[in-house]
Symmetry: D2
Subunit: 170 residues, 4 copies
Amino acid sequence: MSRRRPLIGVMAGGEGAPAAAIAFAEDLGAAISERGWALLSGGRPEGVMAAACRGATRVEGHLVVGVLPGDGRGHERQHTAELDLALFTGMGQARNLINVLSADVVVVCGAGGAGTASEVAHAIKAERPLVLLAVPPLWREFFCSLSPGVQCAEAVADCCALIAAHLQQG
Amino acid sequence: MSRRRPLIGVMAGGEGAPAAAIAFAEDLGAAISERGWALLSGGRPEGVMAAACRGATRVEGHLVVGVLPGDGRGHERQHTAELDLALFTGMGQARNLINVLSADVVVVCGAGGAGTASEVAHAIKAERPLVLLAVPPLWREFFCSLSPGVQCAEAVADCCALIAAHLQQG
Amino acid sequence: MSRRRPLIGVMAGGEGAPAAAIAFAEDLGAAISERGWALLSGGRPEGVMAAACRGATRVEGHLVVGVLPGDGRGHERQHTAELDLALFTGMGQARNLINVLSADVVVVCGAGGAGTASEVAHAIKAERPLVLLAVPPLWREFFCSLSPGVQCAEAVADCCALIAAHLQQG
Amino acid sequence: MSRRRPLIGVMAGGEGAPAAAIAFAEDLGAAISERGWALLSGGRPEGVMAAACRGATRVEGHLVVGVLPGDGRGHERQHTAELDLALFTGMGQARNLINVLSADVVVVCGAGGAGTASEVAHAIKAERPLVLLAVPPLWREFFCSLSPGVQCAEAVADCCALIAAHLQQG
């Protein structure tokens, strides 16, 4: 029998992430798979985005989905090796919005750039459950000023508890 | 270990499909799952689209993905019950293009309406491998006039053989 | 005082159009400007698309809008020289849908390829007023089979009369 | 003769803007028209967005363009009365990205909500010239932390000088 699997969107930077953020994202990815949730990300083979996918595939039964900016032709087909499923949008940064709308809960992991910031903003606008995990104080301050519903966590376990609570509320 | 699973896009009409087309689509969906491929469709709970998903979920180990036009809020969250994964785009008919770009092979099953026709046209434009399965003669004639690469099949087994050949060429 | 100007979408092929089709599209573009309507097209500097823009700019008071597939950076900024306004979507072929939805009336001019066919299909699906101008018999037969509302014309003047009637109905 | 007209994107909140912000946006819209630039906005009949359009139409020779989230059917056709041109995307918040990519210079006017924040983030990601006009200190601090290229102004005249400098650099 089929049952739709919860999809947890992990939004995070690509290039230039510090090693600590990479390790953190791997733990988050693994924790998502351990709970039987599917992982959704931007799918590019870089930085925190790729690290979360890598962590998720360490756990058996994982389902790792990437929604990509390219159109799937030639070098536009490039994605991180850990994807179980790759979706190609050919829509550039507009794919950020698809990731946000498709996630049952959106998690922002560590510092990111402007692309990640656009995803947080879209998540608030679309009223998606949103957890900021270990983000810089300025990120927390800015996005909490846009909505009282934004939640924050500093540890992966706390983040997963918040996700679980959102999934139970449905 | 993870390996990206082939994604077969089944494009077909929603409302008003004849019973024969429904049965046909169920067989196609089941055949896709039996070969270990994932099924991608428009995900709405109607007609041929839903029938293919239903057939796919009859087989163990299935992976049924729907890319939906709605934004996932309220009644925009509606999708066919057989989805393992639902992706919400909030982009209306533009999601047709995402389905086409994401599919390793696009199959058009039976007669469809204008939405299905847009998917065939996008598949040809994007040079995606395309199989027209049991479509009316006028559909075959029109789309084959747009590209010499369009392939046709009348039986599910023949269609799956064409898909397999495309996947092998990679 | 401001009043929204009617926007006539001219959908047509890019590369490889015959000289007769080019001349025809220039006449159509000029006729649209003469009636005070704005012209909307895909905006690329090629074929019938560019010819319609060129014709439109021959008439004083023209307004020629292009909605482009690229994101406006570097060579993605390329567009036909005759645009008064260029909109960059960064969404590839999904911009076809925006053109269709934005047009008060959609005109398909002459033979086109798969991209043009996707625009006709989207126009029918979105129930936009649609005129097929001097298209091949197979195009007429196929698209009229998808909807009883599709109209056909062989001359620019007849096409403009159909457009005017649609605009009057509002 | 035709020449592409510079397109200045004014991004700002819809509902719930204070009266001072409304007056400010009207001045900005008028100043844009006076300089012969076209105004691009989200086009909805609300708040700062509508005020900028209203100001722009006070000046003769204005060109006011709205790129709308709806698909142009029924109540999805609603837009502010001051538009010279309305483009319907049917893509919800993804239209924010189109506005940003299409603008030669992006101006964010006053405080906004999460939708406006997504536009600022997309503008930085896409490396579009960006001026924050009279935004709250926290907005300035956050977005300047994402890019050293973000410019700020407190007065309409200063903002227009920054726009003019960007347009000259081309």
